[in-house]
Subunit: 366 residues, 2 copies
């Protein structure tokens, strides 16, 4: 299958996303055509990446001055001190804004490096090479960057679109199944809020995707990126429409935060549980038909991942609500939920009372 | 004289700049018309500001939840730790992106608060109330934010346009003459690169401006903002055209940096010396006519500020060149100079060799 190219058009910047296999062979040409000046570049690589295809990519970056630093990616290291280390490398070698920083790694690496790139001399060129399914379908698209602090996740950051994204499918081979499902959760989210027909495609091809059938997974990644890019092009700064990408996430973030981001529940698993909650809540308030809701929940359940009741009891409801109130997207203490009218048709809603949401969680956990 | 309103239109955001006297009386209406939600606001105030008109402004901000913190503005405090204190205040009270942060102070305060606002939850509303002439005519327009680090000034930051700027002329009364000249230097810079006719206005009215004749100074501030806003509207991210605002600054930054930002030479004084160098260099390479150059230098000299030879000797030339090479706007080690073809007509140029610039400095300092 040939390499796919998507063009993302935002107000400040247009950039391309390339998705495919063995992109390293074509990297030199891509950089040239995309006007990336490789005079001087800093490559920040996730320390845990398998050497191949990582070095295949690094070796095909022909830069006059190439500096590589390794980053031990973890939520704990997703902080300002890691950003500072990257900034320091750039300052020491006096990188200009026209030089570039390249991230090779998962979502954490991309977010941290992207943030550093956005504040170094008010913005240096940034190329993202996402290596996990989650990062390829979600975090590498749309320019959100950021780090955690003691108040929560991703609370400090910028909207900074990259100058180029390279999604190499070969990286996915080494991902554990749990990580693949994590990425699949976001593919599913994009599909559910955007397109009934594409949801049927996932129903048919879920297993092929999780078994990394090259053609099918490339199509799934590209489809997912297209859905997200269309939303971002209309609302880069998340003033309104972009909030639909938060489907399932208000719940999911509160699950993760309540559990202090334990590895027992990863982001994708939380999102799957969160989407189930959003669908059930939508059904309860008669927003979505029983048919659609049942079909969606059946699909989520077929992934056989985590279950809400294994993590939370009735006594945890207050904590969950507290974290739901904390969501970045909320306005003045109201809980913002993305509900579903039907497959492909989300609704941004902050009209439902805290007590109704509490009651819903009570029923789910009882 | 009535309050002037300018609209700045950038790709991501349109916002207004108000310039006038006793704006506090109209502030409530302005916030309302500009759609500023004052549900919750954090006001960061320069500690050294005179109480009146500062409190007049603060008291006319009718917010349900108003928190005030004081900031001791100095180049030394223009760092990430100050940014962190502001972020902490916001996180502690769980400000949402729709709430707002207000800076009242000079350029340093605006830059630090604006930077914090741009990275808090990827951007919270930001209102800038500049209180020095320099900040009113220059740093409050165009969305540059940032802090210093050990490698230099303003090296970490963002491009983040404010949501509203209020320039209250009453603040200027308490400024020392040296500070006024500092602001005047940037008015002069804007005029020199933009408009021959407006330069004649300055030749006639310089003394009235420095004596704070209300109508004249209001006109000078508005004119200066209009010049800068037109440049920013075309090139917010300083990809090319915006570099013309750097006129005199490549030299000026190197003067300041070589002297380790001593208070003996403030930014405006450095800019005046820098513009003189840029004009003389332009004349030397036959870019500008002798007539124009003489007229400009006469005007700068009439301000009777600092002189290059009082600060530097021949032995300092290497250091000066080193800092000129360090400028953020340079591409790959070439020195970027803004030259002048005639009054009102600048030229961005990085073709002149380091040795020619060295020779020029040698002649100036010999």
């Amino acid at each position: 299958m040939k390499i796919n190219k998507l063009l993302v058009k935002t107000k400040n910047k247009n950039y391309s996303i390339f998705v495919g296999k063995d992109i390293a062979n074509n990297l030199h040409g891509i950089f040239k055509r995309e006007n990336i000046n490789l005079n001087k570049c800093l490559i920040v690589v996730d320390k845990e990446l398998p050497k191949n295809p990582c070095y295949k990519i690094i070796n095909s970056i022909h830069s006059k001055q190439k500096k590589i630093i390794f980053f031990r990616s973890s939520e704990k290291n997703k902080n300002f001190s890691s950003v500072n280390k990257i900034l320091d490398s750039l300052f020491r070698e006096n990188f200009s804004r026209e030089d570039c920083v390249i991230a090779i790694g998962g979502g954490i690496t991309g977010d941290v490096v992207g943030f550093a790139a956005s504040i170094y001399k008010r913005g240096i060129k940034f190329i993202n090479i996402p290596t996990t399914l989650l990062a390829q379908v979600d975090s590498s698209v749309g320019g959100k960057t950021g780090v955690n602090n003691k108040y929560g996740k991703n609370l400090i950051g910028t909207f900074n679109q990259p100058d180029l994204v390279i999604s190499e499918i070969n990286f996915l081979k080494s991902l554990p199944k749990r990580e693949l499902i994590c990425g699949y959760a976001e593919i599913l989210k994009h599909t559910i809020i955007a397109n009934r027909r594409k949801f049927s495609f996932l129903e048919k091809n879920k297993n092929k995707i999780l078994k990394l059938n090259s053609d099918i997974i490339q199509k799934a990644i590209v489809d997912s990126c297209i859905i997200k890019k269309k939303v971002i092009e209309k609302d880069e700064r998340e003033r309104n429409l972009r909030k639909v990408l938060n489907f399932g996430h208000t719940f999911a973030h509160s699950f993760e935060a309540s559990l202090k981001y334990t590895k027992k529940l990863n982001h994708g698993e939380a999102v799957l549980m969160g989407m189930k909650c959003a669908i059930k809540f939508s059904q309860q308030i008669k927003c979505i038909s029983k048919n659609d809701a049942t079909r969606l929940i059946k699909h989520i359940d077929s992934l056989k991942t985590k279950n809400l009741k294994n993590f939370f009891k009735l006594k945890n409801i207050e904590t969950l609500i507290k974290f739901m109130k904390n969501d970045k997207k909320n306005k003045s203490n109201k809980i913002n939920l993305i509900l579903l009218k039907r497959i492909g048709k989300p609704e941004i809603n902050s009209n439902y009372s805290v007590s109704l949401i509490k009651k819903f969680l009570y029923n789910e956990l009882n």
